[in-house]
């Protein structure tokens, strides 16, 4: 069953087309990545999914039924920009947001305590939100989205601004949710983060889907045309255009996309001729690479 289904959805603000003819479906129990650069239409899409705005045309189905507000009680939402009442105490805030999602006061209180203990912020329950660090606020926001045990979790840039320890903590929680059979939608422009988590993705650019499907399929479609090279010495080989289609130099290593028809062994010889090679590995292209390639094509 599909948790959410968008059919030819379009949304415009004045003359600006935010989302244009977007269709996608998310299988229940999977992790889905909605990816794209800033301003691509990710947040507009999510807002329509949770009924904050309505699409101009097209159809949205949640849990197999046309959109109805009642469904919202089974959805957890973490907005892109964190939103909490600054002057309100953490506990009161969580209980309030839980109640808005249909929980009883007592239930919301119990669950708020449990979650805060799990995420190591139980001692802050009686603090005001404005007294917390940014990372802690993020955890609270995270809990607020999950408190009512939603079937479908929507996270807009969930790891933004988190240190690696906390990001890891939240990632574990999400994986745990996945094991429980929840559906998770990620929206982010940091593609590397989501790559490790997502089952399926949709890349959107300028309001239009440019690439969709299971992550493994998407990647295999683009083949192992990339080479990661760690080397010491001369980098003249990067200028051999009959071998190197494009490259990203990351400092410690360089990722090369082979020119069409080029042989990776030839490249290895070219590099080894002038430098010392520490590592030479054929890899799948990263989502970022794929995105650049696809967007480059559609723009052209």
């Amino acid at each position: 069953m599909q948790t959410i289904e968008l059919n030819h959805v379009r949304k415009t603000y004045d003359h600006f087309v935010a989302v244009d003819d977007l269709s996608l479906g998310i299988e229940a129990g999977t992790v889905y990545g909605l990816l794209g650069p800033n301003g691509a239409g990710k947040t507009s899409t999510i807002r329509m999914m949770i009924g904050i705005t309505q699409p101009d045309s097209g159809e949205i189905k949640i849990f197999g039924k046309p959109f109805e507000r009642k469904s919202l009680q089974k959805i957890g939402y973490l907005p892109e920009e964190r939103g909490l009442y600054k002057k309100m105490k953490v506990f009161d805030q969580l209980v309030f947001l839980g109640e808005l999602h249909g929980m009883s006061r007592a239930d919301a209180g119990t669950r708020a305590r449990e979650w805060c203990e799990r995420l190591d912020i139980a001692e802050k329950l009686q603090s005001k939100v404005e007294e917390l660090s940014k990372g802690m606020q993020q955890k609270i926001q995270f809990i607020a989205a999950l408190l009512h045990d939603p079937e479908f979790v929507i996270m807009d840039e969930p790891f933004y601004g988190l240190d690696p320890v906390n990001a890891g903590l939240l990632k574990d929680v999400l994986l745990d949710l996945k094991r429980q059979g929840k559906t998770i939608l990620f929206s982010t422009h940091r593609m590397d983060q989501v790559e490790k988590l997502c089952d399926s993705i949709c890349l959107i650019n300028r309001g239009q889907p440019v690439l969709q499907g299971k992550l493994s399929q998407v990647k295999s479609k683009f083949g192992k045309n990339n080479v990661q090279i760690e080397y010491v010495g001369n980098d003249d080989f990067l200028q051999q255009t009959q071998l190197v289609g494009s490259y990203n130099n990351y400092g410690n290593y360089v990722e090369v996309r082979l020119a069409p028809g080029a042989d990776s062994q030839e490249l290895l010889r070219a590099v080894a001729a002038r430098s010392r090679v520490n590592k030479f590995e054929l890899v799948e292209p990263s989502l970022e690479e794929i995105f650049k390639e696809v967007v480059g094509k559609t723009d052209a």
């Binding site: 807002r47 949770i50 009924g51 904050i52 705005t53 507000r69 919202l72 009680q73 959805i75 939402y77 907005p79 920009e81 964190r82 939103g83 909490l84 009442y85 600054k86 002057k87 309100m88 309030f96 947001l97 109640e99 808005l100 999602h101 926001q141 607020a144």
Partner: protein, 435 residues
């Protein structure tokens, strides 16, 4: 519906618990009470002060006579005032809380003496000099040299005393007895009545029953209206809006907010009323201000009704302003437009209290933007309007509120998700159509 109440409860509890609420609740009555009671106390104190005057007259007899009359006049007026304040108390006789003024008589009418006495007044050796020469008396223009040239009450008292002394002198010369003279000089009391025979309240008490509560009404509507605006702005700028909107429809969010904040105002008003009721009749009432008159049951009931109506009307507009703007600065400019009609009644208070039945007063008490304050002012005035007019005013207001709330809810719904530049008027019109 449940969510609307949850929103309202949150708004209510979060506000009630703040220090700001506590401070406002205590401070406002303190300031209001102070502004009423303190001047009264000061005036009373200055009236109780024993003064030292000099009467300069052309002959000793006239001088003595006037000096005697000033003290007698004070005694008579003191007694009258005491009786007006506590009609049940038996006149205790004598001057209230004070003794006789020291009044010297001087027959030296030379300019040099006048200069010397003026200097004494300047140096605070004397409180005043009455230059009542025969020439001045016959011209009926008497200079009174005093440091408190603007002390209305005292100057009137001196003026009345001298006039009476002159009348008395003339009447005595024609052989009238003391009793006859007193009878002749007694001023009459005017008791205005409406044509329907209803006893009209005194204008003094009206000033307290209208201006004082009207200021509170104005402040409550303004304060809590702006409060709603700031709450909307805060939710918008902190982006809590999106989280809340993912489970609550905008109209319920706005309605809950209006209810919650409005209830805070109502709580405050009831606390104030309770404070007023408990202190009336207590020690500070020695100043002559009767708070019972201010917090009468009928006035309180109408106060609450017009607070709620006025608050609903204005807070809906303030909510729309908050939704349109992105920052306090932006909102401040725009909210002035909303505040303006609320301020108009303040300029009209004086007129309405004096002429509650005049066409302008009636119009202002029916026109919905001004009626919450103006109708209340008329109800509390010397000549309250009939039930029909009150009902019409409330009905007009209710219809307007319905329309304004619908309109503002539309602006609110679109505005809360709009960030960036402030919308232009055509854009807002588009929002309203769109929603």
């Amino acid at each position: 519906m449940r969510n609307m109440l949850l929103i309202a409860r949150r708004e209510y509890l979060e506000r009630i618990r703040t220090k700001a609420f506590l401070i406002m609740t205590i401070l406002i009555p303190a300031i209001m009470g102070g502004s009423l009671v303190l001047p009264a106390l000061f005036i009373k104190k200055s009236q109780d002060k024993l003064k030292h005057l000099v009467v300069v007259a052309s002959d000793q007899r006239t001088g003595n006579y006037m000096a005697e009359q000033i003290n007698q006049q004070r005694e008579v007026e003191g007694r009258e005032k005491q009786q007006a304040e506590k009609p049940q108390a038996r006149p205790s006789g004598g001057l209230p809380g004070a003794g006789r003024w020291t009044i010297d008589v001087d027959t030296n009418t030379s300019e040099s003496n006048r200069a010397a006495l003026s200097d004494k007044v300047k140096l605070k050796l004397l409180d005043g000099v009455i230059w009542a020469t025969a020439e001045n008396l016959s011209a009926r223009k008497v200079p009174f040299i005093t440091r408190d040239v603007s002390s209305f009450e005292e100057n009137m008292q001196v003026q009345r005393s001298i006039t009476r002394a002159l009348q008395r002198d003339a009447l005595e010369a024609r052989g009238f007895s003391d009793a006859e003279i007193e009878n002749l000089q007694k001023s009459i009391d005017l008791n205005p009545e409406s044509p329907s025979g209803v006893q009209v309240k005194s204008i003094e008490s009206t000033i307290f029953t209208s201006i004082f509560p009207l200021m509170v009404l104005y402040m409550s509507v303004l304060l809590y209206g702006i409060n709603v605006m700031n709450a909307v702005l805060e939710e918008k700028s902190s982006r809590v809006m999106e989280v809340v909107l993912s489970s609550v429809e905008p109209k319920y969010l706005m309605a809950g907010k209006l209810l919650g904040v409005g209830a805070v105002g109502l709580t405050q008003i009831f606390i104030w009323a309770a404070i007023g009721a408990s202190v009336s009749g207590s020690a500070i009432m020695g100043s002559g201000v009767d708070l019972k008159k201010i917090v009468g049951g009928r006035e309180l009931a109408f106060f609450v009704v017009f607070y709620l109506l006025g608050y609903l009307l204005y807070s809906a507009m303030y909510a729309a302003v908050g939704a349109m703007c992105n920052s306090q600065q932006e909102a401040q400019q725009l909210s002035q437009l909303v505040t303006m009609p609320l301020v108009i009644p303040l300029f009209l208070i004086g007129y309405i209290i004096q002429y509650p039945g005049a066409p302008l007063s009636v119009a202002a008490s029916l026109f919905p933007l001004t009626s919450p304050l103006m109708m209340y002012a008329r109800i509390a005035s010397v000549q309250p309007p009939g039930w029909k007019e009150i009902a019409l005013s409330i009905a007009l207001l209710a219809v307007t509120i319905y329309g304004v709330v619908l309109l503002c809810a539309k602006i609110y719904r679109v505005g809360i998700l709009m960030y960036g530049k402030k919308p232009t008027l055509p854009e807002i019109v588009k929002w309203i159509k769109y929603a």
